[in-house]
């Protein structure tokens, strides 16, 4: 390629990268400008720590997002608590223990699971999981935080497996060789050398899983019951995402209610950014030379 062509090509690459960065900056600016005023109006403390969310009350609406925030956090943490161990073990199986054919097969299935649309997961949760929980635990209704946790766990499992497997595959064979040479068995080696050596990559998988779980709305909407209670495991809950999804259509344009929903968007945005930043921060702190 000519010199001018080379320059032009590099300029195009740079502009594309710039566009991605600009989009993110725009998004940030949007959330800050649309989310902050309502929070100021309601009051930081009232908004973040208020225990009652009753935005539909015209006379005296209350905009405390604590029940929603906690439901989101519990939901994501619960889902991660189930999906991360399962995902790590699956990844370990795929990366090390499984015969090639079996690994390829399981990998395809996991990919398939990743491709199931959120609304379909919700549908299965609604028609199978919720009635099952109702019967099994003898509840008045099966829609609950527990149902949301289970559905979320299934949904975040594939990305956790995929990312964790990449991290495990990148562990140098020399580490494992050293461990075998010291008389370690395969299982001992995988758990005591391979997994820890995959550290930051595994952490990224965990963070991605939690981030996805915090951000998921559709499937959760269909199984959580959507009452803005302070969350309990077997009770109906409303999450940050489902709060926005349910109410936004009913909120009058420009009303405090609509702006408060945008503020919830800001909170979600901050949560997801934090989850994404976590592995980078951890890497910098505990990093290897």
């Amino acid at each position: 390629m000519s010199r001018a062509g080379e320059r032009a090509a590099q300029a195009v690459l740079f502009l594309c990268a710039l566009a991605a960065v600009a989009l993110l900056l725009l998004l940030t600016a949007f959330f800050l400008s649309s989310g902050l005023p309502a929070i100021r109006e309601i009051g930081w403390k009232e908004f973040l720590l208020g225990r009652v969310w009753d935005s539909a009350d015209r006379a005296a609406p209350q905009f405390g997002i604590l029940p929603l925030l906690l439901a989101s956090i519990y939901g994501a943490a619960g889902a991660a608590a189930l999906a991360v161990p399962l995902g790590l073990l699956t990844a370990l199986f795929l990366a090390r223990a499984a015969p090639k054919g079996v690994a390829a097969c399981v990998r395809q299935l996991v990919r398939l699971l990743a491709g199931v649309p959120s609304v379909v997961c919700g549908l299965v949760g609604m028609t199978v999981l919720v009635p099952f929980l109702r019967e099994w635990l003898d509840l008045p209704a099966g829609d609950s935080l527990l149902a949301a946790v289970l559905v979320l766990a299934v949904m975040i499992l594939p990305p956790v497996v995929e990312l964790a497997e990449d991290a495990l595959a990148a562990v140098p064979a020399a580490y494992e060789e050293a461990s075998f040479a010291l008389g370690a068995t395969e299982t001992e080696t995988w758990f005591q050398v391979t997994l820890p050596a995959a550290g930051s990559g595994v952490l990224a998988a965990v963070a991605l899983g939690i981030g996805r779980a915090v951000g998921e709305a559709m499937a959760v909407l269909m199984v959580a019951g959507n009452v803005a209670n302070m969350p309990t495991l077997l009770g109906s809950v409303r999450l940050l995402t489902t709060g926005i999804a349910m109410e936004f259509g009913y909120a009058a344009a420009g009303s405090l209610r609509q702006r408060a929903l945008l503020s919830i968007g800001l909170v979600l945005f901050v949560l997801v950014v934090l989850m994404n930043a976590l592995p980078h921060l951890a890497r910098r702190k505990g990093g290897r030379p």
């Binding site: 050293a178 075998f180 010291l182 008389g183 370690a184 068995t185 820890p196 030379p289």
Partner: protein
């Protein structure tokens, strides 16, 4: 000469899939001596060394035939506990391969694996191993620091310490000094001198002077066969086989 034979190969053949890498090896390794394996690249030294602790098991399609014994018991016997074997026959690799953990945890890895849990017992084992590997002074005040922050020569001595921590009887070293500068190499050679009273050492090296300096017996490999073996001094000064002589003259020039 009344020396005890600890490892013994009788007609050992080794194959990587269809390719034969070792042909009818006959070789005795005496206990508590340094045995050097020399020979040109690709002649099967590493393959033989990795038969001794069955590290070749990790390679798909690899298989051994014939007899190879450790204390008279077949190494390749069906049902043999390979982890237990490797605990008794330690290995140091060409490139230092420390774990991405602290210095302490690297050395304590083996003992922990084999059931030592008590803090004081671990501390003691770690210190003893580091002293035995002549690196205690350099790392005593930074045991909790990452092992990968050490220099190459220090890392290799730490690898030796890590291998010694499980108290093996045999130490296999595959070109363990080839990536090191002369000073670090000298340190490790001195170290071998102190270890040979307590451990059986089998050493692969391309450095003929090193073989001559540290080993008491030498075996010369060529094309997957042992062409000549014997006391190091005799083999270097009066090789019996023309091919050994040619190789030594080529190397020592």
């Amino acid at each position: 000469m009344s020396e005890q034979i600890i490892l013994s190969a009788r007609g050992l053949d080794f194959y990587y899939g269809p390719a034969q890498a070792l042909r009818s090896i006959h070789l005795d390794i005496p206990a508590k001596k340094v045995t050097a394996l020399i020979g040109p690249s690709g002649c099967g030294k590493s393959t033989f060394l990795r038969c001794l602790n069955r590290m070749n098991d990790l390679i798909p399609g690899a298989r051994a035939e014939g007899s190879l014994t450790f204390h008279g018991e077949e190494i390749y016997q069906k049902g043999r506990d390979v982890a237990a074997l490797r605990r008794r026959i330690g290995m140091v690799f060409q490139k230092p391969n420390l774990f991405p953990m602290s210095i302490y945890d690297n050395v304590a890895y083996g003992p922990r694996l084999h059931g030592i849990r008590s803090r004081s017992a671990l501390d003691e084992t770690v210190e003893r191993s580091l002293r035995a590997a002549a690196i205690w002074e350099e790392v005593a005040n930074r045991l909790k620091r990452p092992a990968l922050g050490l220099s190459g020569g220090q890392q290799q001595r730490l690898c030796i310490a890590r291998a010694l921590a499980v108290e093996p009887e045999v130490l296999l070293m595959d070109e363990a000094t080839s990536a090191l500068d002369p000073i670090s190499t000298g340190r490790i050679e001195t170290l071998l001198g102190t270890l040979k009273d307590r451990y059986t050492i089998v050493l692969v090296t391309h450095n003929m002077r090193q073989a001559a300096r540290v080993s008491s017996r030498t075996a010369f490999f060529l094309n997957g066969e042992v062409v000549e073996r014997g006391p190091t001094e005799r083999l270097f000064s009066m090789p019996r086989d023309r091919r050994t002589e040619a190789y030594l003259t080529g190397c020592l020039g």
